[in-house]
């Protein structure tokens, strides 16, 4: 690892890494079903590959073919993989005994765990928090709302890219191997999941509004159905509907069918006056 840091000073400038950082934003630019983010990944690290293999055209071609291969992960922590990959390519160039197939093997092994953490953090926690903070302002028509949303989401988004690129290059796969071994990785994901699960539970209660407006009169006294439901538990209808749909999602029904189902059932219940917002 110390060796990588030394070559970092000699071979790459700060500007090179800044380039990877900016290019990492276009990772999804040519998203497709065959290679997914492959071309985007190659595009991001291409200038650095060209520096590593500047006197070796054949090696450069092989390296570029390696990195246009299928790649897919949550975009924010992807610079970590880019940094690690560049460090490994340097090793591969310097010692001929290096087995280049390990480069893609390590890339693939990083995709899963990093996406797991990235999805939980960015989609489960940060995005929700950003939207939740902005919604109150937006409901009042306050133009500060979109800026709050963008800032709360993008500060972590940009910082993650900056920091993970450096760590990825300098410490590489050693960190992940270490975390994997001591079980820190799973623990970290689990703890992120705790925050996510609590936030979502809270959000369902606060932001989903489904009530039963049905009421009728039995022998002179008025019966409001929602009052009875509230006695069982407030917000019971949002909870039941969410868990029902969650069950469908877990059963791997296609999202399109689930949406169709919601539209049909929701429309029917709405027209019959059984539910309203």
């Amino acid at each position: 690892m110390a060796k990588n840091e030394m070559t970092a000073e000699s071979r790459f400038t700060k500007k090179d890494f800044r380039g990877v950082f900016w290019r990492s934003f276009t990772l999804l630019g040519s998203m497709n079903y065959e290679r997914m983010e492959g071309l985007g990944f190659l595009y991001a690290i291409m200038p650095l590959l060209r520096k590593i293999y500047k006197d070796d055209d054949e090696g450069l071609k092989q390296a570029m073919h390696r990195h246009i291969a299928a790649f897919n992960m949550t975009v924010a922590p992807s610079p970590f993989v880019m940094g690690t990959t560049v460090a490994m390519e340097e090793n591969a160039k310097e010692n001929p005994d290096f087995d280049v197939s390990t480069i893609n093997a390590i890339k693939v092994s990083l995709m899963g765990p990093l996406s797991g953490i990235g999805d939980t953090f960015f989609w489960g926690i940060i995005r929700i928090l950003a939207c939740a903070l902005a919604i109150g302002f937006a409901q009042e028509g306050n133009p500060v709302a979109p800026f709050i949303l963008l800032l709360v989401f993008n500060i972590p988004n940009v910082l993650t890219r900056l920091v993970t690129l450096n760590i990825g290059y300098n410490k590489g796969s050693a960190i992940l191997a270490d975390m994997e071994k001591t079980g820190k990785m799973q623990l970290f994901t689990h703890c992120a999941g705790i925050i996510g699960a609590m936030s979502i539970g809270c959000m369902i209660a606060m932001w989903v509004s489904i009530v039963c407006p049905l009421q009728f009169t039995i022998s002179g006294s008025e019966v409001i159905l929602q009052d009875y439901l509230n006695q069982i538990m407030p917000k019971i209808l949002p909870l039941c509907f969410t868990l029902g749909i969650f069950g469908c999602v877990r059963k791997k029904y296609k999202t399109i069918y689930i949406i169709a189902g919601i539209v049909i059932i929701g429309f029917a219940l709405g027209v019959l006056g059984l539910i309203s917002a």
Binding site: Y33, M64, N72, V75, I135, A205, I210, P238, F246, G270
Partner: protein
Amino acid sequence: MSVLQAILIALIAAVSRSEGDWLGECKLREPIVTGFLVGLALGDVKTGLMIGAQLQLMWMGAVGIGPTAQLDIGIGGTIGTAVAITTGTGAETAILFGVPVAVIMQFLNTLLMSSYSGVMLVADRKIDALDFRGIRLCHYFCGICTFLAYAIPTFLVMYFGNEATEAIVNGMPAWVNTGLGGVAAILPCLGFALLLNIILEKNLVPYFILGFIPAAYVGFDLTMIAIAAIAIAIAWIIFMLRSNEGARVAVAAGAADDEWED
């Protein structure tokens, strides 16, 4: 709607999709943001934001993960809000137009992503020719196609579809509105169900209950931030407890002879 306004709406729709491609998923696609931008373009920021907030609630959990088809909330929110503002109606109209658009455009996305697979073969050949400019162009080409595939139809619908949309909105009987109210009430559940699908493992169910119950009984006196703070505290405690455990296990494994001392 003037030509300029139609062009602006088309640009908002295209950018709300392309931010994922070129700006690192910076969330310009969220309905609050598109609602604000559409409001600016049509001269009614306040209404745009309020409709955006409604759509945001509905699409809280709508995130694209990997290549799986979900909802294209960027263009859905843009067109929905634009129609609602121009017809002078509310969030129901935005839902009526936004939801079908979000679904249809996701199909278009599937089509685009399939056809870009062909571009990869071109890029392969550019690599063999060491044509770096060609490789870059392949990457840009896909992005530009996506941008146009969103901007052009949006412009056409906005500029030429005015009478049609107005006829639909005005001709709608009241019972359709109550029905749509039902749909709009349930749709937010989908978002949260999709989020739960990413996160929820069996051992996280207690924490889900811990988040739901206080909010359900206390309501808005308890803010989202309070729950988030409690959640962070709990996660912190669990992390400390368990990481000590891990260290102890490691120590025990390292010095197996000393195990009896515990």
